[in-house]
């Protein structure tokens, strides 16, 4: 059960961290050049983190129903998280 809850909720935790970081940047800096750049960088980092999550999920050996459930939950969650993260960055990019 390596990673436990953190892996199980990985995608959403990444979304939350990304959201928080963008909110703080938006409040503290507003829409200026460096802020846009930081938002792009953070978004790429968050997407990369999701790929890491996917990699660890694919390493789970599928012995039990629980393993299968865990893997599918982590994978779909990473996918959903990636969509939400891209949306979250749109206001700064457009």
């Amino acid at each position: 059960m390596k990673g436990g809850w953190f892996l199980l909720l990985g995608g959403l935790i990444i979304w939350a961290a990304h959201f928080l970081a963008l909110y703080v940047i938006g409040e503290a800096l507003g829409l200026i050049g460096p802020a846009r750049l930081a938002i792009v960088a953070l978004t790429l980092i968050a997407l990369a983190a999701n790929i890491l999550i996917v990699r660890s999920a694919l390493r789970i050996t599928l012995d039990t129903d629980f393993d299968r459930w865990r893997r599918s939950t982590i994978l779909t969650q990473a996918f959903l998280s990636a969509v939400a993260i891209v949306w979250q960055s749109l206001p700064a990019l457009l």
Partner: protein
């Protein structure tokens, strides 16, 4: 004719949100129609899916009854549609909320008060040129930047046919740009609950042709000289002047609306009542009956002749 136009402005049909009259409301109406029709479309699809799930043939049901259908209907389809909508919404948002000054635009300050609106027309440097209340005169075809403030609690300024709403928040100044493309009267109302008679806190915008507007402006900037009269004396003696200003007289109270041109206003009681003599007289004698809870005390004890004199005086302030 004015009464007609006011009545039409207030009539609620066609729904003002769907009947835009300027460049800051028109794109929103387009968006609204797209959302309404799209929404009906999606609802129809869901109803159809549900009907198939209940009454459909086995083959159709099998297609609907699996993870694949959930992925398509519950995930892929919304994601595609919502991405498109989001891009539309975001670009429109930044376009409509741009606050950089536009050459030749008018500047007005509107301050929300419990339960009326203080209006100040500003020059380029932000100095007050004309003071008014509860209605706003604008020229057609020219953008107007409204600086929104509050004197007490949170209010919200909303002229549906000219644009979206914007809150008036103590300690802040918000900016909202409107523009009317056709002459006429446009109704509005306070949208944020502000206690007591919030329901009766209306507002009127009058859009003039450029020539009319210049005439109106000239009338307002010329020094006012109300004639001496019994009503004027009573106005100053009976306490009215403690709260109200009448330009060119000793009445210079600031707590209530400026009454220098009360007779030329479209409405009384902050956009809610027609400005005719009987209503004006009733308002002076007992505004609490017409707009319960408003800050003006009732003057029920005022003798009939004094009431008539004050009403005459008010009626003369064009």
């Amino acid at each position: 004719m004015n009464a007609d136009r006011l009545a039409r402005a207030l009539s609620g049909w066609p729904p003002p949100v769907l009947d835009p009259a300027g460049p800051y409301s028109e794109p929103v109406t387009r968006l609204a129609w797209a959302l309404l029709l799209g929404g009906f479309g999606v609802l129809a699809v869901v109803i159809a899916a549900l009907a198939i799930a209940i009454w459909g043939g086995p083959a159709l049901k099998r297609r609907l009854g699996g993870d694949r259908a959930i992925w398509i209907g519950g995930f892929a389809f919304p994601v595609i549609v919502l991405t498109a909508l989001l891009i539309w919404g975001l670009t429109l948002t930044s376009r409509l909320s741009a606050t950089d000054p536009i050459a030749g635009e008018m500047r007005v300050q509107v301050t929300g008060e419990m339960w009326w609106w203080r209006v100040a027309y500003l020059d380029e440097s932000g100095r007050e040129r004309i003071r008014d209340a509860n209605e706003l005169h604008i020229p057609v075809g020219r953008p107007v930047m409204i600086e929104l403030a509050s004197a007490d609690v949170v209010h919200s300024f909303w002229i549906p046919r000219l644009g979206g709403k914007m809150d008036m928040i103590p300690g802040r100044t918000n900016r909202l740009r409107i523009q009317a493309d056709a002459p006429g009267v446009y109704a509005g109302q306070c949208a944020e609950y502000c206690g007591g008679p919030h329901a009766l806190m209306g507002f009127v915008v009058i859009a003039h042709t450029p020539a009319d507007f210049v005439r109106w402006q000239a009338g307002r900037t010329a020094p006012a000289r109300p004639p001496e009269s019994a009503g004027r004396r009573l106005f100053e003696q009976r306490g009215c002047a403690a709260c109200h200003t009448v330009g060119g007289t000793a009445a210079n109270g600031l707590a209530g609306p400026d009454l220098s041109h009360i007779a030329s206003r479209r409405s009384l009681g902050a956009g809610i009542l027609p400005n005719d003599r009987p209503t004006l007289s009733r308002w002076i004698a007992d505004s609490q009956a017409l707009k319960p809870g408003n800050r003006m005390p009732a003057y029920r004890q005022l003798p009939a002749d004094e009431l008539r004199a004050i009403t005459d005086y008010m009626g003369s302030l064009k």
